[in-house]
C-alpha cells in the first residue's frame, strides 16, 4: 500500500529530550514520557509539559509498541498504568488498533484479562446486573482505584493520584466494572484470558494459577465437571440398565428331558451352547412341575467341543409336602439352579446326569392302616401322569457384572467427579473469599 498514511508521529519530550512515538495521534491527550516519566499534554500541536519528573521509567512486562493478536484482532500497547485499591495493586495496558479503537489488558496476581469500554449501560443493581442478556453477580463494592504510575499515551488527562470509585460484578470468565468520577460514569467488561492465550499474544509468561483466584476466573475444573457430570450420569444409567438386563440373562438353550419312573440313572447330552464372551457366568435352571415328595438329582457337565475341557455343577430339586397336626405343610422347591462361575468362550455340549427319586416317609409304614395319608404313601410322583414327568431345562448366560463389579465401576465413575468437586469447591471458596458480598458469584448456569 504505497499511499498508506503513517501510523505514528514522533515527538521529543520537552523535559528530557527523549524521542516519543505517538501511536494514537488524534486521540491521545496525555503522554507520560517513557524515559523520564514526565506528563505531557499532546492535545494541541504544540507539546506542553504538564508535570515534570526525572525518574527512571518503570520496566514494563510488555514494552510499549508491542503488538499481539487477541480474538483475531491485532492490538498495540500504547499506554500503561499501575493502579491500586487499598493495598491491592494491578496494572493495565492500553491497547490500540486504529480500526477497532481501544481495549485494556489488565494484570493482577499474574492473571490477565481483556477489557473494553461499554457504550450500553447494564441494568439492575446490587442484586445483580444484566448486559447483553448475561447476568452478573455483585463482587466488590465501593472500591477506590488510584493511579500510582503511568507511562505512554492516553485519550484523557491522566496523572498519578487520579482516583475513581469502583464497583464490580462477575460471572464465570467475565467481570463488569463501573468507574465513577466527578464527571462521568463509565462501564467496562473484561474477559479472563487463559495463560496460554496471553502468552501466545504478547509473549508474557502468565501465571496460570493466580491464588486466590481472580474474581471472574472460571474454575479450571469447570469444563471437566460439566462434561464429567453428564458422562457420570450416563455411565450410571448404563450401568444400572446393564445390571438389570444381565440378571435376567440371555437364554442359550432350553428344552425338556423325561424322568424315568423307575428312578434309574439317566444321561442326556444337549447343545450346542455357544459362549461368545471371553468369560461368562452360566446358570442352568431346572424346573420339575410334577415333583411332589421326591427329589431329582441333577448333575451338569459342560464340555467344550474343541478341547474337551469340562466344567461341572450340580443341584437337586426337592419338594416335600404333607399334613400334620398344624395342617398342610410343604418345603423345598420344584426348581433348582446351578451356576458355573467363569466359563471361557467356546461351543459346549451340556451333559445332564439325572435321577428322579421318590421319598418314602419311614415313619409311615405302608401297613399302618390308621395313619392319615396312608394312601399318599403309595402315590409316586414319577407315575402320576399319563406321560412321564419332565424336567424343563434352561441354560442362561448371566453377563459379567456381579454386585462387587457394579460397585467398583460406580466408584471409578464417581471418584474423579468427587475429587473434581472438592477442588472446585475450594477454588470457588477462595475466589469468593475476597468478595464484599457473602455468597457472591454464585454460579447459576
Amino acid at each position: 500500500m504505497a499511499d498508506a498514511a503513517p501510523a505514528a508521529r514522533a515527538l521529543s519530550c520537552p523535559n528530557c529530550g527523549g524521542t516519543i512515538t505517538l501511536r494514537a495521534a488524534g486521540h491521545s491527550v496525555t503522554v507520560a514520557c517513557e524515559y523520564c516519566a514526565s506528563i505531557l499534554d499532546v492535545s494541541q500541536p504544540e507539546v506542553r509539559l504538564v508535570t515534570r519528573y526525572n525518574e527512571k521509567a518503570s520496566r514494563l512486562a510488555i514494552p510499549l509498541g508491542t503488538r499481539g493478536t487477541l480474538d483475531g484482532t491485532e492490538w498495540e500497547t500504547v499506554g500503561w498504568m499501575a493502579r491500586e485499591d487499598s493495598g491491592y495493586p494491578w496494572q493495565e495496558f492500553l491497547l490500540f488498533n486504529p480500526y477497532h479503537g481501544y481495549r485494556w489488558l489488565i494484570e493482577q496476581r499474574g492473571g490477565w484479562s481483556l477489557g473494553e469500554q461499554l457504550n450500553v449501560t447494564p441494568t439492575g443493581g446490587w442484586g445483580g446486573v444484566t448486559v447483553d442478556g448475561e447476568r452478573y453477580q455483585p463482587f466488590f463494592a465501593e472500591g477506590r482505584a488510584v493511579v500510582t504510575d503511568v507511562v505512554g499515551e492516553f485519550y484523557w488527562r491522566v496523572k498519578r493520584g487520579d482516583s475513581v470509585r469502583t464497583d464490580d460484578w462477575v460471572r464465570p470468565g467475565e467481570m463488569l466494572s463501573r468507574e465513577v468520577d466527578d464527571r462521568e460514569v463509565s462501564w467496562s467488561r473484561s474477559r479472563y484470558l487463559p495463560a496460554a492465550e496471553i502468552a501466545a499474544a504478547f509473549g508474557v509468561s502468565a501465571q496460570g494459577k493466580p491464588w486466590p483466584p481472580l474474581p471472574h476466573q472460571p474454575s479450571p475444573v469447570r469444563p471437566f465437571l460439566k462434561g464429567a457430570i453428564v458422562i457420570a450420569l450416563l455411565a450410571l444409567a448404563a450401568l444400572i440398565v446393564g445390571a438389570v438386563l444381565t440378571t435376567g440373562g440371555r437364554t442359550l438353550w432350553q428344552g425338556s428331558v423325561d424322568i424315568a419312573a423307575d428312578g434309574r440313572d439317566q444321561e442326556v447330552t444337549v447343545g450346542p451352547i455357544e459362549l461368545t464372551r471371553p468369560y461368562q457366568r452360566v446358570r442352568v435352571v431346572a424346573e420339575v412341575p410334577a415333583l411332589s415328595n421326591g427329589w431329582v438329582d441333577l448333575d451338569y457337565t459342560l464340555v467344550d467341543r474343541k478341547n474337551q475341557r469340562s466344567f461341572t455343577a450340580s443341584k437337586a430339586a426337592e419338594r416335600y409336602s404333607g399334613r400334620d397336626s398344624d395342617g398342610d405343610w410343604s418345603e423345598g422347591d420344584r426348581g433348582a439352579t446351578a451356576d458355573f462361575a467363569a466359563l471361557p468362550s467356546g461351543t459346549y455340549d451340556l451333559v445332564v446326569d439325572y435321577k428322579g427319586n421318590n421319598w418314602v416317609d419311614p415313619s409311615k409304614s405302608g401297613s399302618n392302616f390308621w395313619t392319615f395319608g396312608a394312601e399318599e404313601q403309595t402315590s409316586d410322583w414319577r407315575r402320576g401322569g399319563i406321560n412321564a414327568p419332565q424336567a424343563n431345562l434352561r441354560v442362561v448366560s448371566r453377563g459379567g457384572a456381579g454386585f462387587g463389579i457394579f460397585f467398583l465401576m460406580l466408584l471409578l465413575i464417581l471418584l474423579p467427579l468427587g475429587v473434581a468437586l472438592i477442588f472446585h469447591a475450594q477454588f470457588e471458596s477462595a475466589r469468593r473469599g475476597e468478595s464484599d458480598f457473602t455468597g457472591a458469584g454464585d454460579e447459576d448456569d
Binding site: A5, S43, E74, P98, Y99, Q117, N119, V120
Partner: protein, 222 residues
C-alpha cells in the same frame, strides 16, 4: 454534481451534493460558499493535524439499510482533546454525521428540536447550561446528559452544510442512553441544532474504502 474552478487558486472543485453549500478546496484549503450568485471564498481553512483515523473522504458504508459515502469532515477540539465529525451523504441526498471520538463511532442525524418536545433540551437551547447527570426524555427514552462543553473547530475538509472555520466556537452537549443511543445538542447564540443516533462500529457499517494506515491490516467489511 457540479464542478467549478476555485475562485482563489483556480483548481477544479466538485460539489457532490446540491444541498450542501460549503466546500473546502482540496488544493488551497479555501472555504468556498456556493450561492445563486456563484462561488465565493468565506475564509481560509487550517491544515488538519496528523491523526490515525481509519475514515477518509470516500469511505463508504451502510446504516439502517441505506448506503452512504463520507464527503466531508470537521475536526473539533475542547480543553481535554479533539475528535472528528465525518459528514456522510446518503443515497437520496440525506446526510448524517459519523462522530469519531476516543476510538468509538456514532452515527447521528439532525432532527428539529420542535419535533423532540423535550423541556430540558428546549431550556438548554434557549441558553441554560446543561448539567451532566440530568435526564431528557426523547421518544419515550430517557437520555442522560454525559457532557457539556465549549468546543472549537480546528479544521475542516470536503463538503459541509455550514461554514466551519478554525476558531469557530459553539456549545456542545452530549447525551447517552443505556441502549447505546447517542445524541447531541449544539448551540451558537440563539440557534441550536439537535442530532440523534447511536453508537456503531466499522463492522456494523460494513465500512469500505477505509484509510490505509502503515503497518496495520485494513479490515474487510461489507
Amino acid at each position: 454534481m457540479l464542478t467549478l474552478d476555485c475562485p482563489n487558486c483556480g483548481a477544479p472543485v466538485t460539489f457532490r451534493s446540491a444541498s450542501l453549500p460549503n466546500r473546502v478546496c482540496d488544493h488551497c484549503r479555501s472555504m468556498l460558499v456556493r450561492s445563486d450568485a456563484g462561488v465565493g471564498v468565506a475564509g481560509q481553512e487550517a491544515a488538519l493535524p496528523f491523526d490515525v483515523s481509519p475514515i477518509q473522504i470516500g469511505t463508504r458504508g451502510r446504516f439502517a439499510g441505506a448506503s452512504f459515502e463520507v464527503i466531508g469532515r470537521v475536526r473539533w477540539s475542547w480543553t481535554d482533546g479533539s475528535w472528528n465529525e465525518w459528514l456522510c451523504l446518503f443515497e437520496g441526498g440525506r446526510h448524517g454525521w459519523l462522530g469519531e471520538a476516543m476510538g468509538d463511532f456514532m452515527m447521528t442525524f439532525e432532527r428539529p428540536l420542535a419535533e423532540i418536545g423535550s423541556a430540558e433540551l428546549d431550556r438548554i437551547a434557549r441558553g441554560a447550561p446543561a448539567i451532566p447527570g440530568r435526564k431528557a426524555e426523547i421518544d419515550d427514552e430517557e437520555l442522560t446528559i454525559a457532557d457539556a462543553r465549549e468546543v472549537s473547530c480546528i479544521a475542516a475538509e470536503g463538503e459541509l452544510p455550514f461554514t466551519a472555520l478554525p476558531g469557530w466556537t459553539i456549545y456542545s452537549v452530549d447525551l447517552k442512553a443505556g441502549s447505546g443511543r447517542a445524541a447531541s445538542l449544539q448551540r451558537e447564540g440563539n440557534e441550536a441544532w439537535f442530532y440523534d443516533g447511536r453508537y456503531v462500529t466499522l463492522a456494523d457499517l460494513g465500512a469500505t474504502n477505509l484509510r490505509a494506515i502503515e503497518g496495520w491490516t485494513v479490515p474487510r467489511y461489507g
